[in-house]
Amino acid sequence: MTDELELLRDADPVSAETGPWRDRPLDARAELLLRRLGLQRRRRTVRLRLLAIEAVAAAAVLALALTVPGGGAPAATAADLVAAPRPLVAHASRADVPLAEIARRARAAAKETPGKSVMGSHVQSWSMGMEPGKDTVTTPVESLTRWNADGSGSRLEVATDPRYPGRPVIDDSTPPRTVHDGKVLRRENYPKGTYGANQDYFEAPPTGVAELRSYLAAWLPGADKDPASLLSAVQSFQSVWTLGPRQIADIATLLSRVEGMRPAGRVTDRLGREGQGFRLSAESGGRYLVVLDPDDGRLLDLELTATRAEPEYRLKAGDVLFYTAWRG
């Protein structure tokens, strides 16, 4: 007779190999929690309102005030060491395209040119960062992730600051220093079968606005209710997938239905592209800027800025907490 403990072991309802609680590196939500806890140790008495906004936003603000020691690293000029980017600027004009119209155009484009979403992404990103117990800066990074049908893939990350092409880029090594533009920070090749084993959003996204909303909420509970959570989910989702026209239209439609999304005007983003900007103030603090391609609704940029000063960290209202610019 089979041992009763063995029977029970086989009936374990929660797997370590698959499902939402499977073993893998921390996801954005878990990193957010750790950073929140880490920040508490540094600011026990200061309010934490900004920290509730977003994983990367929770990251600390120490980069702003960083003074970089020499320590054998290449000499860094003051300009190199301004780690935090300036926020994007939006200009309202008569040519502004309403979000509902962009969503309509996106749906029309999806009908004309159907295509599937593709695993992998190509993004430019930066966020404030903090390692527990030490001051850090974070590097502006261009990352390219590709996946094949057999689950094999690759990831390449290079240091590059779109504000200063060709110039040295501040690097978050210890101690911080500068590296040359385009320096490879990470190059990984994954054997077949890797995809899905260690990725969020590993199932192909559905079509349909409601279905996509549910899909996002499955990975980030609350994304179907809270606008800031929805934006956070869209950001992480599109770091895994490069969307086809149908899903682009679904995302644009989802965004067009977000209460509180306000037109901001035309934006020239960090990659020199023209887009239409929309702002959303998160209830718990912080303000998002969403930049869409007005022609097909493609998400170009997502940026979060502080709405209140945090003098302890030399954070001023309007400072950028993170941005992501999708290149693909």
């Binding site: 009763e4 029970l8 609680w21 073993d23 880490g38 527990p132 117990g133 509970p221």
Partner: protein, 191 residues
């Protein structure tokens, strides 16, 4: 390694294990898992000076307390709703079986559910969390011999319930789908 560094390392290494621990005990209420896990690590952070090596059994112990608070909170909420007359929200489990009810081994879960909570917990810790007796004793806050005794008794009771299920529903236990418990049986008109 400083206390803070030890906490960070424990967090990174055991975040998903703690999540599974919580998810197993919250059943189908997966939406609450992250909230409870966040509470577990918030409490662990405040008590990080006590963090032992290895930390996982201790984290499970913290999680047990957080889950108990969650369950107590739910009980209060349900009572409040009951007073307000929200019968729809306060009544017991629905008769529609969850998708998991069809998975192999669900009848073993039914046998487990028939045991007392203390028995269930020592069995879960031993099988699903794969803890040794020493680690079980850390989680339960008892001595090793007491943990061994609890496990011995719980195993015997689980075996009894499994045998009882086998006697009452041999057909269902013979196939992969199993049963869905009393509610489903009632629905089917079986005794």
């Amino acid at each position: 390694m400083s206390t803070d560094e030890a906490f960070d390392a424990a967090y990174r290494e055991h975040y998903w294990a703690v999540s599974r621990f919580v998810a197993r005990r919250l059943g189908d209420q997966t939406a609450d898992v992250e909230e409870v896990v966040a509470e577990v690590f918030a409490v662990a952070w405040r008590r990080r000076a006590e963090l032992p090596d290895p930390p996982l059994p201790w984290l499970y112990g913290v999680a047990r307390h957080c889950l108990a608070n969650t369950v107590r909170g739910r009980g209060r909420y349900r009572r409040l709703l009951a007073r307000l007359g929200h019968h729809e929200m306060t009544r017991g489990p629905r008769t529609v079986p969850a998708p998991d009810a069809e998975r192999p081994g669900s009848w073993v879960l039914e046998a487990l559910a028939r045991l007392g909570e203390a028995d269930q917990e020592v069995l879960r810790l031993t099988t699903w969390e794969e803890l040794s007796l020493d680690e079980v004793s850390t989680v339960l806050g008892c001595g090793r011999s007491a943990a061994a005794m609890r496990l011995h008794r719980a195993r015997r009771r689980l075996r009894t319930e499994i045998d009882r299920l086998r006697r009452t529903d041999p057909v269902a236990l013979g196939c992969a789908s199993g049963t869905t418990g009393n509610t489903a049986s009632d629905k089917d008109g079986r005794p």
